[in-house]
Subunit: 305 residues, 3 copies
């Protein structure tokens, strides 16, 4: 079967940076606006052909989120079966997947951890990915290789990303890593991450601990503590995100975020999300000037179809 | 429910400008070619989630009508209910809506009034729009605010557009206005419009009177008189469009258009549309050289799905 | 009815050029990856409205195959009936259609003849095409005119392309021609082609003979011999493609290709395709340096929906 699906998420935001406040209408403050077509075909013997082609949209202007790439969100085809699944194409990195799964803000909007975290680029081109089957008693995992496609240098621009996790009842825990090379084939970044969440019933706790390094300019530790509290049609979420930079002096950053979601239906909700991102004197995450503070409040609506 | 819809409209045109005639194959001579996905969801209590994402296509070449913006026609999400509807995203300006509704050519193709009219840019980015509910005994109206999104200057590039109308039986009448600022926050244009149509049965009459001004370079009056005559599967339409320029000497322009539509089904028709646009000596609407005359004849087919 | 359809085709390729081998993930090594919407409407009296809008995708990166043209694969509307069919828009040239139909690799991927053949540009903008009806006892044919759209010079950039063929049981044979002018209205290329295939049951044979010329720099002969052998779920295909250049010395090229297809379902298959393209000293088809040899092996999966 083939399914047309999508998300339209638009918000009015109040955004201040370098002492200047601006009111905007922004797309994707809870979830990226998108259109996609996905499907699967039963091939017998437990084998299925699977695919997904997805366009991410800045719905406030009608532009694709990736300039010149209308299908830049995902485009892949693969086979799944008792052995797991193999996919080829453009897709999310397992490393980013591990961040998003353990971030109460799903790594999107004013509260997303990846505004300060090393995010591995979020997506990989020219990728082949193997995923474990969902039959291993809660153990899951992925291994992805992104070809650099540089003639005569198989190390240039190549990426390797993986995760291995365990989920059981209220618990989810995952270990992820990402290795990216630069255009010369040297280390661009090596990242490791431990993520997890635990659903206590009335409250859910979230945690991400990550470290990214290369041989010279990069040595950072990323930390996220989060919690979310569902009450009927209401959901409160909050997190604390911190980057410690060991390669550069006075270059840490801290983000605090708080959100309220009001459920209108299984597919539709309203939201109010605010965050404050504070940079140390030599850091400039999400700000124009080093040491700046960015404050964003977004009031919006997300509709999924 | 979610609906995939669209229009494919292609014509052979004969187009003369500056004494040179060229034969072309052109898209959207009756209605813009497009693909869209729209839908709504019942949220209970009369509330609905509504959305539309639309791509306008130059179907003669496969290019998007808005370069680099595959979803540049419309992309918005909103809520409708007893109170009316609120939408956020990219959408048509109420001012353009009032032109199109009262133009027998639906503001498109060789006869479109907006080839000489001030058209308010047709669409607005970063917009929030409120619309009256359809339960007010024929009164309708919209108010749209397009954020300029300039840091530290909330007046820069902002737009405000609205309309208020009344429809009853054969009558439709609407008042619309549009206020657009430039990048410095100064008046780019202030426009007011009175539009209407009356269906006499055998003949329908159309009228638009508009005025656009700013503090210096812009002071024009736009006028449209139109009529349309349906006879079974046939429809004849004609209009006279005139621009009077009070800010520039010898800069008026006049367009005459005539069309024949042949209905093949509720969704499909053939058409033959011709127009002549004459510029005064200092005007250059739709022509290469000031004072030129543009003549276009289009023979085409429109299919809606 | 309206139909959303598509192809996702991705492969791991090993590609060597100028002595450098590179491993890549590539899209469309058997069939171009794409998304499309097509449909038809019964208008009575045997008349139908028909349309197709198609996006070709490089699924390894999510980019459109035609930069800036998300609907660059096809976009047309037309009428079909007892008289045949008339289409307007962007579409494949009849000349390319005749190549693709008689190439065991469907003119795509490492074995495609058009890596060395003159291919007429594959698609035409601004085109009106007439096709014979499918009721002529096996005779088929198309005539397409692509307007150059240059003011004052109706010969500039115009294209004319046609084919006339006959199919009966195991036999298909087609004659095609293409005439393309340059921006000055001079001969860019005049091409003629004889193509055919015959299905002997256990083996199918394929043939294309073509010649392209202009008044000065172009005079080439293109030749393809192919065969394909289906055995249950398996299909073997091979071809020999040769370009003889009579306008330039030492500028011939030869391509040999071999493929194995493994059918998983009517819509899904795996494939392994390899080709070697050898250039004479002054030729540089698909290579960086004149006289080079290009070797490509692609192992992939194609899913149609």
């Amino acid at each position: 079967q083939v399914e047309v699906y999508g998300v339209l998420d638009l918000a009015v935001t109040s955004d201040s940076d370098a002492g200047k406040r601006v009111t905007k209408v922004d797309s994707g403050q809870q979830t990226a606006s998108r259109l996609g077509i996905k499907g699967s075909e039963d091939l017998g013997s437990g084998l299925r052909a699977i695919f997904d082609v997805e366009s991410q949209i800045e719905a406030d202007t009608g532009q694709p989120s990736f300039a010149g790439r209308p299908f830049g969100s995902q485009s892949w085809v693969g086979l799944s079966g008792p052995f797991g699944a193999v996919r080829a194409g453009r897709m999310f990195t397992p490393y980013f997947g591990a961040i998003a799964t353990n971030d109460p803000f799903d790594a999107k909007g004013p509260g997303e951890s990846t505004r300060v975290f090393y995010d591995s680029g979020v997506r990989m081109d020219n990728t082949v990915k193997y995923s474990l089957p969902p039959t291993l008693g809660g153990v899951y995992g992925d291994l992805a290789y992104g070809a650099g496609e540089a003639a005569g240098n198989s190390q240039a621009n190549r990426q390797l990303s993986g995760d291995i996790g365990y989920t059981a009842g209220p618990l989810n825990v995952v270990l992820a890593w990402h290795s990216a090379n630069d255009a010369l084939g040297m280390k661009l970044a090596r990242s490791h991450l431990l993520g997890g969440s635990y659903d206590f019933g009335r409250i859910k706790g979230w945690l991400v601990l990550a470290r990214s390094r290369n041989d010279s300019t990069l040595d950072t530790r990323d930390t996220l503590f989060g919690l979310s509290v569902p009450v009927g049609r209401h959901l409160i979420a909050a997190d604390y995100v911190h980057k410690s930079d060991f390669a550069n002096r006075d270059a840490d950053a801290t983000q605090l975020a708080l959100a309220y979601y009001h459920t209108l239906s299984r597919r539709t909700n309203l939201y109010l999300i605010g965050s404050q991102l504070s940079n140390d004197g030599a850091a400039s995450y999400q700000v124009t000037l080093p040491g700046g503070t960015r404050r964003v409040i977004a009031a919006g609506m997300r509709h999924q179809f």
